[in-house]
């Protein structure tokens, strides 16, 4: 076990965990940030997506020891009041069914919009294709990313 000091959502937080502990479980079990979800544990579904230095990262296979001084951003830190353009678009288009995968969907989309604020539908689909939504809310996810991009 070792103490890891992590930069999460602009704050320094620490956890006493094994070096190979995935960031997902550090966030969920040790830091109380449960917005990041466990879906598959093998980087196949995208429910656990967070940003590490601005890049969309599958936290379920990203060991805490690799985080270092990187800035980690989770759904809880995306905006202070839940008013990031993507969060507003998700509400306006009423995207969620069960809602479980949506924080990962939003974080994947947020990384895309940061890099490419005006993506084409094709670019949206290519980026979002790795995030599974078991309820099949794909049309609205795509439309909400587009809507958010039009407001940035």
């Amino acid at each position: 076990m070792a103490i890891y000091k992590l930069q999460v959502n602009g704050k320094t937080l620490q956890a006493d965990v094994e070096a190979d502990t995935p960031l997902l479980w550090v966030l969920r079990d040790h830091l109380g940030l449960v917005g990041t979800k466990y879906g598959c544990g093998i980087a196949q579904c995208g429910s656990c997506t967070v940003h590490v230095n601005g890049s969309a990262t599958r936290s379920c296979v990203y060991p805490v020891s690799a985080v270092g001084n990187s800035q980690v951003l989770t759904i809880e830190g995306l905006s202070e009041k839940g008013d990031h353009p993507l969060q507003l678009a998700w509400d306006e288009i009423d995207v969620a069914q069960c809602g479980y995968c949506q924080s990962g969907q939003i974080m994947t989309a947020a990384a895309l919009l940061k890099q490419n604020p005006k993506p084409s539908m094709d670019e949206i689909e290519v980026t979002m294709n790795g995030n599974i939504c078991r309820c099949g809310a794909y049309h609205r996810i795509r439309d909400a990313v587009k809507l958010a991009s039009s407001k940035i």
Partner: protein, 699 residues
């Protein structure tokens, strides 16, 4: 439930009761003491806040929004002032479950009645205060108004006085033309919590002092022989390794420590029953198809004579594999078994059943067991079964600690309760004019129960008909999967009807309409579907999709009645690089009155994506009782780039709601397969379609 305190009007009502539902006023003291003889209530606080309980488990079907909408509609509440609370398990509920697309149909009148009762009490209070007849007062948007004098009081101002008015024993419900909320797009009340990552789900539940656990379970047909946990126990964070039934449970301080230590567990299993493989099932299907052991489900007329006298006989066999529900949130539950009682928290579709099972298992009376419902990260039928709840409770009782039991995705996918694998044989007899004179269906299923739905279409439209089924009992466990049985039967039936129409030289839409006309003109035996409703969705889907008028796409038709609703679909397929691509699906649904329009559209779209995705891509195969696929890398789900455009329409007929959580799923496979036949000339008879020849590129 401590959200309701102080004054105002609190109405309690039993909205699961089949008996006459007359709400009663709950006094503030009874409320504070929790002494309420009702399974739900709505309250109007003195500040005007309206609080409505939503009792059913929410798994994405949007009930937590649509139930309160119905109450608020009749109440004439200001929706902006409505708060919705998820109810926990209540002793008096008799249908607090999510399944069978039944929540809205079941509760529709009770919800309306509850809202209307409160409205008339508010009106009575206002009329009394103003000394005017009640008939001159109206309610609108959170106020009671007296038009003649221009007087106006808010619900909040009237709440206290209303609570002292007599409860009307019968109330007049609104005319649907006056609906302001019902049928409109009202957003999911939990959106903000979902998009900001608030702890809503069972996986997110945390209790100080709780431990985490996972369970190693045997393959199907195996049982536990022995285990060696020495290395596992020595791993960091591991508290204990215990065994019960055929389970070995690893208990630790965090999820990752449990996951990691579990890999080092040494477990020996021994054979308890047959170790079945998919190869065995394929052989079994063929032999059982010809066995004489079938249970007759429906028999009309003289089938043998019809086939003997037929001008043409058409046969088709269709087969599907087991599939997993694999909701995104894995199975999990929190249990704290203490000497004074049991606390359960988590996601289940059937909370009352969960409590009953825990009560029976631990020999603890039900009134000592509480169950708090969290939001469910998907269900699809998997969480109708509560094995993960009883496991958590049993484990907590053994280790004497509050425990959060988590199934990994692999545990979920290999843990059973699958959609049963089924094979169908259809036979049709046509006369010289191309009329369907005889129809036979045999279903052979693995742990499928009755794999037919013998009273569904085309039963009633065919003079000579025989439907029977054979079941093979297997150690591989099955359960209800969204639209049980019909999720595959509908595809097989609608694909076969298409084959028969083709053989009869008739247009597939007209062929179905002719059958319905026959059922209307000269019905045969019992008919449990509504011929007119089915006819309407067929005609409307043909019209909306431009059936028979499009030159650039190949279209396939399908229609199905399931639960209590009717959905017709048309798929448009094009060829791209020699492969069929589904471009668009049109859906016309008759689910009666739509409650939350955007939620209803979402259920139809999700049902189609779910139906198409599993028909196209998903399969679980077995080798000696072990699933070959155990996570999303080997078990394929549909992804964003693979979904077609979807256009949804609803029949606006004013019938009371008949449910929509499932009915849009069954028709999709048939529409897709029939369109692919049109495009390629190849029939798809086995799922997943992706393994069929039409999807293999010619190299």
């Amino acid at each position: 439930m401590t959200a309701i305190t102080g004054g105002g009007l609190v109405l309690g009502f039993n909205w699961f009761s089949a008996e006459a539902n007359v709400p009663e006023v709950i006094s503030g003291s009874a409320m504070a003491a929790g002494n309420i003889g009702f399974n739900s209530f709505l309250s109007i606080a003195t500040d005007g806040t309206v609080t409505i309980m939503s009792p059913n488990p929410e798994l994405g079907q949007n009930i937590i929004t649509s139930f309160p909408m119905v109450v608020a509609e009749e109440l004439e509440a200001d929706w902006k002032k409505v708060k919705v609370l998820q109810a926990n398990l209540d002793n008096k509920f008799d249908r607090q479950l999510t399944g069978g697309s039944g929540a809205v149909p079941h509760s529709w009148k009770l919800l309306r009645n509850a809202g209307a009762t409160a409205k008339f009490m508010l009106i009575a209070a206002a009329a009394k205060q103003w000394s005017v007849p009640e008939s001159e007062c109206t309610a609108s948007n959170g106020f009671v108004l007296h038009a003649r004098s221009g007087k106006k009081l808010s619900f909040g101002e009237l709440a206290e006085a209303a609570s002292k008015m007599p409860v009307p024993t019968s109330v007049k419900l609104k005319d649907r033309k006056d609906f302001k909320l019902i049928g409109k797009s009202v957003r999911n009340v939990e959106n903000l919590k979902i998009v900001t990552g608030k702890p809503l789900f069972g996986m997110d539940f945390y209790r100080e002092g709780m431990v985490y656990a996972m369970i190693q379970r045997p393959a199907f047909g195996m049982k536990l022989k022995s285990f060696d946990a020495a290395i596992t126990k020595a791993m960091p964070g591991i508290i204990d390794v215990v065994s019960f039934k055929n389970n070995v449970a690893i208990v630790g301080k965090s999820t990752w420590e449990v996951l990691k230590a579990r890999k080092l567990l040494k477990v020996d299993y021994e054979k308890e029953a047959d170790l079945e493989s998919t190869e065995d099932h394929d052989k079994l299907f063929l032999s059982l198809m010809d066995s004489g052991q079938a249970t007759v489900r429906r028999k009309d007329g003289d089938v043998d004579a019809a086939f003997k006298n037929a001008e043409k006989v058409i046969k088709g066999e269709y087969q599907c594999p087991f599939i997993s529900h694999s909701p995104m949130e894995p199975m999990n539950f929190f249990a704290d078994v203490r000497p004074d009682g049991v606390e359960l928290v988590g996601p289940t579709q059937t909370p009352a059943r969960a409590r009953a099972e825990v009560s029976q298992l631990l020999k603890i009376p039900e009134d000592k067991i509480t169950l708090e419902l969290t939001r469910l990260g998907g269900g699809f039928g998997r969480r109708l079964k509560n094995d993960f709840v009883t496991e958590a409770a049993e484990l907590s009782s053994i280790i004497k600690k509050p425990v959060k039991l988590i199934w990994s995705k692999e545990d979920d996918m290999t843990g059973g309760t699958y959609r049963p694998a089924v094979r169908y044989r259809f036979e049709a007899a046509l006369d010289a004019a191309g009329n369907l004179t005889g129809y036979k269906l045999r279903g052979v299923g693995i742990n499928s129960g009755n794999s037919t739905r013998e009273h569904n279409f085309p039963s009633g439209a065919v003079d000579n008909l025989l439907i029977d089924s054979v079941e093979h009992k297997s150690p591989i466990t099955t359960g209800a999967w969204r639209a049980p049985i019909t999720n595959f039967l509908a595809f097989a039936e609608q694909a076969f009807i298409d084959e028969v129409a083709h053989a009869a030289g008739k247009d597939p839409v007209q062929f179905r309409l002719d059958l319905l006309a026959k059922a209307k003109r000269a019905p045969v035996g019992e008919i449990r579907y509504d011929i007119n409703r089915m006819e309407t969705v067929i005609k409307m889907a043909a019209e909306k999709s431009g059936w028979g008028k499009k030159k650039d796409v190949s279209q396939g038709f399908s229609v199905y009645f399931s639960h209590a609703s009717y959905v017709a679909q048309v798929a448009d397929v094009i060829m791209r690089n020699g492969l069929p691509v589904v471009k668009k699906i049109y859906a016309v649904s008759d689910c009666g009155q739509v409650v939350a329009l955007n939620g209803a559209v979402h259920q139809v779209m999700g049902g189609i994506v779910d139906g198409m995705g599993h028909a196209m891509y998903s399969k679980l195969s077995f080798r000696d009782g072990v699933a070959d696929q155990n996570n999303y890398n080997t078990y394929r789900l549909i992804k964003m780039k693979e979904v077609p455009e979807i256009e949804t329409h609803f029949v606006d007929n004013g019938i009371d709601p008949t449910g929509l959580g499932e009915p849009a799923l069954p028709p999709t496979g048939g529409a897709v397969a029939n369109a692919i036949f049109k495009a390629t000339g190849k029939r798809l008879r086995n799922q997943p379609f992706i393994e069929e020849d039409v999807f293999k590129t010619v190299s």
